[in-house]
Symmetry: C2
Subunit: 134 residues, 2 copies
């Protein structure tokens, strides 16, 4: 049986108020809150202020990562939420980010990441066991 | 005219030799080399060793980011290369990572990120200028 390890949501947010995505402090507040709201496990987080406009933020998670890049001059933020395990956490984090930034339009793509054939793995494991016993 | 700000390549690499993706030192070498090979501009990079297996790496770029998450026990690495500006740099970085890890199979997705209507922006700018003059 196939099993999916992770869920990756990519969202491009258009028509965002420039004031909400220009300063790295606001981007930090946004991502740190998203991690808490979705009950994700932060390893570390990293932020950068571009000049004259825009910011980047990345949170390394035990469950994978969240990233954001902003272009206030275009009213644009591109957001990735990629989590392993419970997929509802990815949706909850992304919903929080979108609801907070209030874009006029969202272009969203969703991908399964890492599709594992459990049957094949179990056959490989059995073959290793058989070989070790014979 | 529409203009795309960024190119995002998502690749799931299956059948990777576990020894190549288990240790964070190897993941660090891989990503730092990919940045150099593709002539990308690193802001900072961050790595984490999972126990008992696997690693995460993220490079913040002036052009956006590169990330990798590995599951050596499944022979799996999921890689994202997302760059703004010259799209050939994204392909060059991803090709380097794939060629180095030598997976048996790659599941690749490519997305344009941030599609800007330059005509509409220029009309909005003209409207602001007209309003400021009248």
């Amino acid at each position: 049986m196939a099993k999916t390890l992770g869920l990756h949501i990519l969202a491009d947010l258009y028509g965002v108020d420039a004031d909400r995505i220009d300063r790295v402090e606001d981007i930090r507040d946004l991502l740190e809150s998203a991690v808490k709201v979705a009950n994700l496990t932060k390893i570390s987080s990293h932020y950068y202020q571009f000049q004259p406009h825009g910011a980047t933020g990345v949170v390394l998670l035990a469950e994978s990562h969240i990233s954001i890049h902003t272009w206030p001059e275009h009213g644009l933020a591109t957001v990735d939420v990629y989590t392993c395990g419970d997929p509802t956490k990815a949706y909850r984090a992304m919903d929080y980010i979108i609801n907070t930034l209030e874009p006029k339009r969202v272009d969203k793509q969703i991908h399964d990441r890492g599709i594992i054939d459990e049957r094949r793995q179990s056959e490989e494991l059995r073959s290793i066991l058989v070989n070790s016993l014979t």
